[in-house]
């Protein structure tokens, strides 16, 4: 597509053409109407003047006969810019007037006629071209004929001026319209081209690209700004995805490698059946761990994609707190931790019961894992975990507070990410997905997971809007 062809094909240019045609037609109509009316008006004026003169002259004839008429005509004919006069006998012999070179027979019929003529004082036919006149021939009593007329040059000149003015103005309208249209179109086209160029580089994989914003705040700018916001979101998502796949590669490949190594080792060196059995049991255990990690990842992905929104129902968060507390209490006790639940008042909530239970279970599990006391006490006090469910304004808070070592403030937002496990905890069992899942579940419900200081210890808070997630449009 040539540059010009592209220009002509734009919407802006097509609109320009349509408007141009409409305006040009309108101007032509207006000017034509004006020209015709002017012409008609001048003709009327001429007719009126001629009629008045004929009335006047025939009155003179009636009063003073042909002699007086001739005298008056002579006098009038000599005035500059005068009308055209001719008085003839019945035979056509000229008695007075300032007109000559009339086509023969002009005077034979009374009434209006448009005719060619020359003035008497310019009878030299070579030098002066014929003029045209609108004249009236009047039959006087006694056989004389009187012709009175007006030159039509003025009318024609005016008419021509109007017509040519019309032509010029239409030409100018068209030229200016085309030039303006092309200019605007090219400007728009340039910006659209710049956007197209950027989107093309983005499509080729450069997600950092942004559409140019001219800063004028017009519709193209608004479009570009919105598209840029969309690109930012996409870039963030892609970044997250890349991080996740890197993490998955690492955290799934490590146990897979271990699994493979053990199987290989058993094949190579196991001698007795019991050794093979042990190796196989080990393999199953290891693959169970992998399956668990995989399930957790799928669950997070599902929560993040918002698919689980379908399974929302009304339930009491306090009940969940009691249930989960009850589920984990024996485990905590076994580890020397006192697990308490403080959720006396109902905290009604709209959400996915199963997922919220699991999120809370993960937090409790986490706390039990890390708040395990050494020598019976943690940080000098008895080890304890408190699970709470309370309503606060239009939010429901599910909190798990422990007296463990806590998480340094700098690491708090990081540990929520998938697979992130702090160095100190590498030795503990777990996939590093528990907090990620809790966070994904909270976000699914339009809430959030925050980690705070329990002085000492960790306080994990899931804050959820009471009415459930607000559907985000689009």
């Amino acid at each position: 597509m040539t540059a010009l062809g592209k220009l002509f094909r734009t919407t802006t240019f097509k609109l320009t053409l349509v408007y141009l045609t409409v305006f040009a037609l309108f101007a032509a109509f207006l000017l034509g109407y004006f020209a015709l009316n002017t012409r008609r008006l001048i003709t009327e004026q001429i007719t009126d003047t001629v009629n008045a003169e004929i009335t006047g002259l025939s009155e003179q004839y009636r009063l003073g006969g042909v002699r007086r008429l001739v005298a008056v005509v002579d006098a009038r004919a000599r005035r500059p810019g005068s009308s055209l006069y001719l008085v003839t006998t019945f035979a056509g012999e000229s008695l007075a007037g300032n007109v000559t070179s009339l086509p023969p027979g002009t005077l034979d019929n009374a009434g209006w006629t448009e005719t060619a003529y020359r003035r008497l004082d310019e009878s030299d036919s070579a030098e002066h071209p014929e003029h045209r006149a609108l004249a009236r021939v009047f039959q006087l009593p006694g056989g004389f004929r009187l012709l009175v007329g007006r030159d039509l040059d003025e009318r024609e000149r005016l008419y021509n001026i109007v017509i040519s003015a019309g032509r010029w103005s239409i030409a100018i309208v068209i030229v200016l319209g085309l030039v303006g249209g092309l200019f605007v179109t090219r400007r728009v086209l340039r910006r659209v081209d710049a956007m197209t160029e950027t989107t093309r580089t983005i499509m080729q994989g450069d997600l950092g690209g942004r559409l140019p914003v001219a800063g004028t705040g017009d519709e193209l700018d608004r479009l570009a700004e919105n598209l840029n916001l969309m690109l930012e979101r996409i870039e963030a998502l892609m970044h997250g995805l890349k991080e996740v796949s890197d993490n998955i590669a690492h955290d799934l490949k490590t146990p897979l490698t271990r699994l493979r190594n053990r199987a290989e080792q058993a094949l190579r060196s196991a001698k007795k059946e019991s050794e093979y059995r042990a190796a196989l049991e080990n393999t199953i255990e290891e693959s169970d761990g992998l399956i668990r990690t995989f399930n957790a990842l799928l669950m997070i992905a599902r929560a993040e994609s918002g698919q689980a929104r379908e399974n929302m129902s009304e339930f009491d968060a306090a009940e969940i707190a009691h249930d989960i507390g009850e589920l984990y209490e024996p485990l905590a006790e076994e580890k020397g931790i006192a697990l308490k639940v403080e959720a006396e008042t109902p905290a009604p909530l709209n959400g996915n019961r199963e997922l919220i239970s699991q999120a809370l279970a993960n937090l409790v599990d986490n706390s039990i894992k890390y708040a395990e006391p050494r020598n019976g006490t943690v940080n000098g006090g008895p080890a304890e975990i408190v699970v709470r469910a309370l309503s606060e304004g239009d939010r429901i808070l599910l909190t798990v507070a422990d007296s463990g070592p806590g998480i340094p403030e700098a690491d708090r937002s990081r540990v929520i990410e998938r697979f992130v496990r702090l160095e100190q905890s590498r030795s503990k069992p777990g996939s590093g997905l528990g907090l990620s899942l809790a966070s994904a579940v909270a976000r699914l419900h339009g809430g959030e997971l925050t980690l705070a200081d329990n002085n000492p210890g960790l306080k994990s808070i899931i804050a959820l809007p009471r009415g459930g997630p607000v559907q985000i449009g689009g």
Binding site: N295, P330, Q358, D365, K369
Partner: protein
């Protein structure tokens, strides 16, 4: 027990058939939905093991067709889709249990045996007995011999479930699903601790233990004399 495995992956089907035969059951296999439906309608099976995604006729459709014909053979759905709502969909379509892939054979076996036994209708009894352990479902009282044992409500339900399936292996996930109504996998094995608490209440001080751990599978309550 006669079992029908409807599974399109021939390897998986062969593996299951072989494994079921090894533990003493009779098992057949079908590899697509139409064959599976025909075999299920024709044969006297105790439990059907149905893969969810099958060629020709979807697993849920097979179960739906069976139920429409009045066949109440218990069906366990195997599926790669393991989320709660998939499970709900499966059970709503007429399945009796749902096991996400990948599964362990011991888990599948335990569930199949529970399904097969359920037809006998033990769940209606008001007093459950295993050896000298007695659980009264109406008065919520538990006795071992002459001694009354006091249990927390959840412990009572745990024991009730175990006793309903006395002599059968009950897995940890089955307990979590049926006693706690959770379908997720707790990262730590919380169930073990509940069991050991229960065990200390019902077995401690008695010469004959009733609550047994089945290695690699789960738990079983059983009269040791048997």
């Amino acid at each position: 027990m006669r079992l029908l495995v409807i599974e399109d992956d021939r390897d998986a089907a062969d593996y299951l058939v072989k494994a079921f035969r090894e533990v003493g059951h009779v098992a057949d296999a079908a590899t697509d939905g139409d064959d599976g439906l025909a075999m299920a309608l024709g044969g006297q099976y105790d439990v059907l093991i149905v893969d969810r995604m099958l060629p020709k006729r979807d697993g849920l459709a097979v179960i739906g067709a069976l139920r429409a014909k009045g066949m109440e053979t218990p069906a366990l759905i195997l599926s790669a889709l393991g989320q709660v709502d998939d499970r709900v969909k499966g059970l709503r379509a007429g399945g009796d249990d749902y096991l996400p892939k990948p599964y362990s054979f011991s888990e599948l076996l335990a569930r199949v045996e529970v399904l097969a036994r359920r037809r006998v209708g033990r769940s209606e009894e008001t007093v459950l007995r295993v050896g000298d352990l007695k659980l009264d479902r109406l008065s919520h009282q538990v006795h071992r011999g002459q001694d009354e044992i006091s249990l927390q409500p959840r412990e009572f339900r745990l024991l009730e479930y175990l006793m309903q399936h006395a002599g059968q292996v009950v897995t940890r996930t089955m307990l979590l699903e049926n006693v706690w109504d959770y379908h997720f996998d707790p990262q730590t094995n919380v169930i073990d601790v509940h069991i050991s608490r229960l065990r200390s209440k019902i077995d401690k001080g008695f010469s004959l233990p009733l609550l047994h751990t089945v290695r690699g599978a789960g738990y079983m309550i059983r009269d040791g004399a048997r």
